[in-house]
Symmetry: C2
Subunit: 228 residues, 2 copies
């Protein structure tokens, strides 16, 4: 095993052991045992995370001296914000919110967002602002683990929560392919540039911090639900 | 005259009195009295400014909570970096560099960039990082004064410097229309949001700082030319 192979294996181990797919709230969601109020609470709170994504991606753009890198990374902002041609992730999430019975305006205004979710999501943006380009890209590698989770989630929602209206799983389905492509690009970037033990440690630490952020988001949602 | 009209008039007065079209080096450039070494020195140094533009625009994106604002502002990054469909401003500037006889690789590596140019351009990026969204957008209003300068420059270069190869004025010509559109959008944004004397003062100060940056760039170029 080369140093690079071992490094990528370590990154994957971080995801295996710390990614939020293991959180009991997500496990219960996929088993079909959450109630409507729990799902609504999750959807309304996770929207705050969604709105931070273009901001952290813009900060990543501002760290790169390469127009080629920026051209590639810019696509993430366009896919989340949408462009004239197609709706972005933010709009798909708002349709998900409506499909679970939430009021669009209330979700946009972040009225149901609990402090722990806000702290963790804001930490993501401020960490990216502080990190090197390499660390910031490494923190995005949670996307390596997203496609499997998105696929399982779309299937679980369609099976267990038939009360959810149309459009409820469009966001998850859209992310299956996009997250795979984004993750492959970011992993190539990180593997090619984290060529010293120090840089590799920084990348692992950034990815761990990101898993902490995602975990704390769902943990804060779970502990503040009306139904438990 | 309303408060808003008076504010816009003040912004225009900043441009009239402080924009770099008044700098003796630019005046000489447009009168046709610069030599090849002076033009090359200007082109190589100004490229550093060009490379800071997508970075400051990405920082501006990261300051906005509005997907609609970001969709509009994102176009500036695409137009400078280029996309699959068309070359961006950076590429047009490199063609200008080649047209005046510079080596593309040397320009890309910023080997001829003098310290004053670097300080002023880096100050633009760090100021935008520190400023509010409103101040950052206000600082971009130098674009209000760019189209006239770009039009005059393209005509002057074609008239006075026939030794410059093809593609030498494509950047200037591309900016005539784009700068007008960018300036109109930014001016509407600023006029609608700078609705207190304090906010208006902040905008004027940001625009003045930006004119200082542009002025110092050309001043540093002028004072370090081989031919004077």
């Amino acid at each position: 095993m080369t140093s690079s192979d071992a490094f990528v294996a370590r990154l994957r181990e971080v995801g295996e052991s710390r990614y939020h797919h293991r959180h009991p709230f997500h496990v219960a969601m996929h088993e079909g045992t959450l109630g409507p109020a729990q799902l609504r609470h999750w959807v309304a709170n996770r929207f705050y995370y969604q709105t931070r994504i273009p901001l952290k991606d813009a900060l990543i753009l501002a760290k790169s001296e390469s127009a080629e890198f920026r051209r590639t990374w810019l696509r993430r902002i366009r896919e989340q914000d949408g462009d004239g041609a197609s709706d972005g992730g933010l709009e798909l999430w708002l349709r998900l919110a409506e499909a679970v019975g939430l009021d669009r305006g209330e979700v946009i205004a972040h009225r149901r967002v609990v402090p722990g979710v806000r702290f963790a999501c804001d930490d993501y943006v401020s960490s990216v602002a502080r990190w090197s380009l390499l660390e910031a890209v490494a923190s995005s590698l949670t996307e390596c683990f997203a496609p499997d989770l998105m696929r399982a989630r779309a299937a679980a929602w369609e099976r267990h929560y038939p009360w959810i209206g149309p459009g409820g799983t469009a966001y998850f389905r859209a992310r299956i392919g996009a997250a795979r492509r984004d993750a492959d690009e970011a992993l190539s970037f990180v593997a090619a540039r984290a060529i010293t033990p120090e840089l590799q440690e920084q990348c692992v630490a950034a990815l761990e911090r990101k898993t902490d952020i995602l975990w704390h988001v769902v943990e804060s949602i779970a502990t503040t639900c009306e139904e438990t």
